[in-house]
């Protein structure tokens, strides 16, 4: 049986659920995100609940899912196996953090907000793609 249509449907549903989660939680509003990051200002705890809810749900779900021999629609689980730290990981994370703090957008919300896009957001998405292409070149 050709699993391709089911694979695409499953992936679409995952993306849909993800972006519904971002929208319902308010992560598609950079003011919410920067409000959380601004601990010296009028602190907004929302992001803490989002991350907490997401991590705990995923932790519990993964415990069941990863006990299975294989995923439902693929041959194996594609899991990163590295456990060491290097400068690329930490330097990259630091650069990302600065960009996240400046804009209040990480990649998920930036893309999910396309439906209400503005010129500044489109500008950010363009250089984000450029950044991915540069990272691929120098990595």
């Amino acid at each position: 049986m050709n699993k391709q249509p089911l694979t695409l449907l499953a992936s679409y549903v995952a993306g849909l659920l993800f972006s519904l989660g971002l929208a319902v939680s308010g992560m598609t509003d950079p003011a919410r995100v920067v409000g959380f990051l601004d601990v010296a200002g009028n602190w907004d705890p929302t992001l803490m609940f989002v991350l907490g809810g997401a991590v705990i749900t995923t932790f519990i779900g993964y415990r069941f899912v990863l006990k299975q021999p294989a995923p439902m629609l693929a041959g194996r689980f594609a899991l990163p196996s590295r456990r060491d730290l290097d400068t690329k990981l930490l330097g990259g994370a630091a650069l990302f953090g600065v960009g996240w703090g400046l804009s209040g957008y990480c990649p998920g919300p930036a893309i999910a907000s396309l439906g209400g896009a503005s010129i500044p957001l489109l500008a950010m998405l363009a250089t984000m793609v450029l950044g991915w292409l540069i990272a691929r070149r120098i990595a």
Partner: protein, 153 residues
């Protein structure tokens, strides 16, 4: 503290978690946005692109669906009816921020979702280190912009 927005945050977070668990259960993949979309664009991996496109379409369609339904489920600060908030800065700032986010998540192999949600849930030491690093960098950045420079962001 606004309990309603915190509760919406929790509900949205659980939805994100369900999405991550579903993607692992069905396709065996980490629900990391910069990995899924970034590799689609930068690598165009043969035979491994279609599911990424489907995920990307889903990622754009959730907020669109809520907007189309005219729902009140968004959680935008001071705009109860809105689903998507507006950028805080203009084009120059967003150009710089986008480059940093793309470059940083590309080099650091992940963002808030891949490292922050899926990686932490897997108890990955790399993801924990990355998450602490980008959180601290973001906290320091916002502190400098808002309280040292006194900027409008």
């Amino acid at each position: 503290m606004e309990w309603a927005s915190s509760l919406q945050g929790l509900v949205g977070g659980i939805l994100i978690g369900i999405s991550a668990v579903w993607l692992m259960a069905s396709l065996g993949r980490i629900a990391g946005i910069s990995g899924i979309v970034g590799n689609l664009i930068a690598q165009r991996p043969k035979g491994d692109s279609a599911w990424r496109v489907a995920f990307l379409v889903g990622l754009v369609s959730g907020p669109l669906l809520l907007m189309g339904l005219g729902s009140e489920w968004g959680n935008v600060v001071n705009h109860p009816g809105a689903v998507v908030g507006q950028p805080l800065g203009g084009v120059p700032l967003m150009l710089v921020a986008g480059l940093l986010v793309g470059l940083g998540t590309g080099l650091g192999s992940g963002c808030t979702s891949g490292h922050g949600v899926c990686g932490l849930a897997r108890l990955s030491p790399r993801s924990l280190a990355a998450t602490v690093t980008f959180l601290v960098a973001a906290l320091v950045t916002v502190y400098i912009v808002r309280h040292v420079l006194g900027g409008g962001v």
